[in-house]
Symmetry: C2
Subunit: 111 residues, 2 copies
DNA sequence: ACGTCAGTACGACTTCTGTCGTACGATCCG
DNA sequence: CGGATCGTACGACAGAAGTCGTACTGACGT
């Protein structure tokens, strides 16, 4: 079962900012920023409990930051770049630049 | 007594995003975006309990989004535009643009 | 069909947030 | 000085958020 993705015009700024306001989720977004799709299991460190990851997928999905698509027995994740860019121009880029400029608090989650 | 303001290079992205990820605080930032200083009591609706406001001043101050300066019996608030711009270029501008593009969830806090 | 693998669902638990009421300290003004 | 005003401090409380273990579903490979 896969949860709910908001339509582009239903994406709420406060939800996006809340979703991005957590180092683990920033790490996820950073990993996905390269483009393309990644399976859930390949995005972050294996140390993290799967149910914890599921929780964060939901937050990012419900806020409109990522898209989640089933493919075989995997779920592929991707950044909703165009939707976010259309809705909040420049926001995602400046956040990504910010993460790169100070990756400390995010690195420990890397795979 | 006035709390702690982080140095510009200690401003953490995740804290800024968390601070901005709340409609009431977005409303505050929006009010301060005009520039200059405003007394605490003039920024939002009078309906809100003063202790609640104090809580949000703290969140915004500790994250580095606003500066708070005593002046007589008032505390003057201002946006830390330059510091944020230097640390996370473009971020604040795109957030402010986002608020203006959809002020619904924020309007009810206006004074 | 069977076991394995990817991810979710659910429940438990702890911590963090948001809100408020009340009490306090500092400042201004008559 | 005495009273009013601005904001903080503290304590209480409900609800949300984050983490995990366990159980489960669905798809794959043999």
């Amino acid at each position: 079962m896969i949860g709910h993705h908001p339509e582009p015009d239903q994406i709420k700024l406060e939800n996006v900012l809340t979703a991005l306001g957590h180092p683990m989720r920033l790490a996820i977004v950073r990993e996905l920023a390269g483009g393309g799709e990644r399976a859930c299991g390949t995005v972050l460190s294996k140390e993290i409990a799967k149910s914890t990851l599921t929780h964060h997928w939901r937050v990012l999905r419900d806020s409109g930051v990522i898209r989640q698509r089933p493919s075989g027995r995997e779920h592929l994740l991707s950044l909703r770049r165009e939707d976010l860019e259309q809705r909040f121009p420049g926001l995602l880029d400046s956040v990504l630049a910010g993460v790169e400029s100070d990756p400390e608090s995010v690195d420990r989650y890397a795979p």
